[in-house]
Symmetry: D2
Subunit: 339 residues, 4 copies
């Protein structure tokens, strides 16, 4: 069975997912597209034989040929689109953030609970990365004992000199660690603190870069996360969990070792795509498989909500310059952990 996907939002990430469904994964086809920029939607559809173009997201969702929805529009539009997909009873894959505010995320949860079954998967692709999965396997197998600390770094080579704000380091970059530590440790985040070291002169004038985000897990595990979006030398995501009996760390990603000019060396990824492309593939394949099987998989609306709530606390911590507790609703049974 082929899952007929309708894609809302045909910008960079939307196009990448279309390429993925069409040229890489199995079991899916893109049969409809929509974008606020109709011309762009038309150009994308031109490369998809038989795909229809819809003037509105609502129309696309209502299209009977569309089995499932992929939301890759900008964040503020997510709530309405995801809720509409739920109302139509159609599974929906929503790129992060699920919605820009935790209140909006709660409304999505309400809609999904009213529908009576899980229809939403949120695009936290790191959960599908071979490195994090191996890390979680070591942790869950007891190989390092009970966890106590985690050290993370999230380094981008650069961001545009204008338009990228310090808040976005929290909301766009750190959200990946916020989700992954919840998944790794299987618990919520209780509080956040943001430290501001001396800033890089490579950063735009108004950008506090790098930052250190401290996350306190409910159990007391402490996570420190270096966020550095002008690291220049490459795209480098690092992580080490320290447990009572040992540690587990993400290994360097590299195919070959070169010995030349008195150095032995391996490559550092050039960007997030280079580093995580397989995780994106696996995430979307998992979604297609679940849709085809009539089940659900991956990060839920609750995960989207939790990430939003922690992001809110971190932004407040940055603003206030002090530790900020995370305010969260109670987890509904509906979103109890899957086995």
């Amino acid at each position: 069975m082929t899952v007929n996907v309708g894609v809302i939002g045909t910008g960079m990430i939307g196009q990448d997912h279309i390429r993925r469904i069409t040229q890489v994964l199995t079991g899916g086809a893109v049969v409809a597209v929509n974008d606020v920029d109709e011309a762009r939607a038309g150009q994308v559809a031109a490369g998809l034989p038989g795909a229809s173009i819809h003037a509105t997201a609502q129309d696309l969702i209502a299209d009977d040929h569309v089995d499932a929805i992929l939301v890759a529009s900008w964040g503020p539009a997510h709530e309405e689109q995801v809720v509409a997909a739920i109302a139509a009873g159609k599974p929906v894959f929503c790129e992060k953030p699920l919605a820009p505010t935790s209140a909006a995320c709660l409304r999505i949860m309400d809609a999904e609970m009213a529908a009576g079954r899980r229809l939403v998967q949120v695009g936290f692709m790191r959960r599908y990365d071979a490195g994090y999965r191996a890390m979680k396997a070591v942790l869950d197998d007891g190989g390092i004992g009970a966890p106590l600390l985690m050290h993370c770094a999230h380094r981008n080579p650069s961001v545009p000199p204008y338009g990228f704000t310090t808040d976005m380091i929290i909301s766009d970059s750190s959200v990946h660690e916020i989700d992954i530590v919840r998944w790794l440790f299987g618990e919520e985040i209780a509080a956040a603190t943001v430290l501001t070291p001396g800033r890089s002169r490579q950063a735009g004038a108004d950008l506090q870069d790098p930052l250190i985000l401290l996350l306190e897990m409910a159990s007391g595990v402490l996570v420190d996360d270096e966020l550095f979006v002008n690291a220049r030398y490459g795209y480098d995501v690092r992580g080490e969990i320290v447990g009572e009996a040992g540690t587990v760390a993400l290994a360097d990603v590299g195919e070959v070792t070169v010995r030349a000019a008195n150095r032995h060396s391996g490559r550092v990824p050039v960007d997030w795509r280079d580093r995580f492309i397989r995780a994106y593939d696996a995430e979307l394949q998992d979604w297609l498989n679940a849709v085809a099987a009539g089940t659900s998989a991956g990060p839920t609306s609750w995960d989207g909500y939790a990430a939003a709530a922690v992001t809110d606390a971190a932004l407040e911590a940055l603003r206030a310059g002090q530790r900020t507790a995370v305010t969260m609703a109670e987890r509904p049974d509906f979103y109890a952990k899957a086995q």
Copy 2:
């Protein structure tokens, strides 16, 4: 467009390719199967809705619903099946070896040349491995200067205690290095020598394990290849090219580093599947893409022939205990290097 594949041979490797086409790759479907063991073919077909079972390979090849053939039968049957696919004008992916003798390979080449276009891809999947591809990129970019030597090791944890012969170390194991060095250096192998160190007591009584195979490239590059099929500790494929200005080596494959009990460590693959599964995926996707596009890709019949000719020389070198020149036909223009 979906490529409708007919699979000849539904043993372990055939089933794995069926899983791959059905559950992993895009653009292909398995519509017909055949096996000398009809019961096994039936069991496999039962998991493939709509797939037909053919009593003979010839029937499968003749089936109008079949666009392309995947040959995963045992080696002695390859020639007849591949030639029949060529005669039917259908693209064929043939697992290694293309045929058990170089004479049979030459007959396949003749059939393909008579057909006037490349229809055969041989299953040398290492060419699709990210490690070897990165190695070739470094070499081709001049990063280590002109190549002089290559050191290889090909270690399997174990082979069955009975039935696996010393000759099979050459024909089944070393054939991977035989093909990959031809591809890496873009030239033929001129001679082979086999060295016999003290044998492991883990090896079956009649097995000379490990072996060292020496391959002399036409240009003088010397390759030494440790072949060790009872290495116990894991599946480990290693390679380092030494050039006039530096070296490039396959890096360890590992997602995480664990620190425990006074060691820092990473994992070694458990078997060939673990190590090369992505290469198998990429190889077959490349074939499906080429079939869909009406073109050809990957290792050719000539590559299958050359591997057979070098294997012959290596087996003779093992038997005779001395350096043996490789005897090869001249390369037809038809098989001139691509691009």
Copy 3:
């Protein structure tokens, strides 16, 4: 010329330095010993032909056969002994801490300045470690641009279940990072904060282990230092400086890589001696060489004082649970940086 050394304090560390001078280094001899435990001093002297035993540290310092003093007594005794050595005009190597309080350190500085020349070297041996020296060389050569952050970890396999207090994690363990970051960055530490993650159940009942110590350098460089004295898996000191153009990190220390049982692995040091023995050797050789040459080398009284001042702030930060500014005297010209 042989430097005739008098050793005050013949406990574990004193004996180790005696072994070093006697069996490893060149240019020194131990000619006199003193210990509060006269029996122990006698036992040690028995292994040193010709060495005299002195009833008091003062007697030893006054001994005409003694050229230079090595203070390895307990911390509270250091001030009186170091000041006495200065008064006698004899060079003195003092194990860390220079003195338990910053006030006492200031009095030592006053005595040394009154003497008119540098006579004191403090035992911060990490400055002599090949790893930290290579790190500083990369930093100073501009290889990673201006520094912004440093991540440290200082892990001991275990401490005694009783008697080792949380304060000692600061005063005994973190003092090494406190000194090394001052040396690496060539600047003072402005403030300290201590974070208290969930504690390891391997730690004694009253021990908050691990801790995270945050150090703010005067320039804004932020250092985070994981201190974990019951890490079980080994003795592991890690460090990575993040600069505007790259990073430099201490590499794993290991002589060989073992492949066995599906792991490739290297060893982690078992204890501080294993990890830093060469640094201790180099530190004391540097002292002997400087004494023989009539010059001075290595960490000064000012460095001892600065470490004490930062330790005071860190202990206060631990107690108060908040960021604490470091209070320090102005650096006298006498202790201006050597070029």
Copy 4:
């Protein structure tokens, strides 16, 4: 007790050992020097207060102030000098080769046996390298099972364009692996073969560089040794022993990892001094300690002889282009393995 050393040969290596005894090691002093170039001997002695200059090696050996002899003259002079030291009953450290011919080595052995006690230590310093020692410890502890193979590489960045011959790659470079494999495996070498790959254009016109030397241990363990004296990229000595249950390999030597310009990298040593300086220190300290204790240590005359015998076979194998058995005398009980 200080060992008073007389040094014969004050060229580069002699001066380096003098520096070592004088500035690095403990328990030794250089009290006399001799060189065929008297002016050079004089210059060296000028830096050694109290050291005498002798017109001949015989005079130096006879000097009553000299306890022990260090022979760092050129190879052809070794036999006469070592035999004279033995005749004088004085311990002698002789740089490699013990003598240029195996016949000369046998005469030294005869002299030493006639003297009735071991007086000679040969300068095979790799036995004192931390890497090889860790490798031997893993092997001896059974960590990789019984050994079957060893892969070695010995790469120098360059040799002078004139004057360095292909024979010298065997006699000067491979002699280090010849000794170390005898030590690692505790057995003799039975045969040698030399392979000649395509040569590097960086090599002088008459130099066959690189070479592959194959050594067959008496037990059947097979060693392949890549010898490459114009490797350009650095000084790199590699080794991996393959056993029945695993492998052990020399690790990269590097203090720090740098991340910059999309690479993570560590340094490769620049020359043999950089790589092995600690081994030289340890070797000579062991000699001084043994002399002071009236015992002997390290590689013996038998080891010097065995290396010469294998070198002879390897040179013959290079000349003849075929496998050449090693011809060796029987090992006298006098040189039975220590302890």
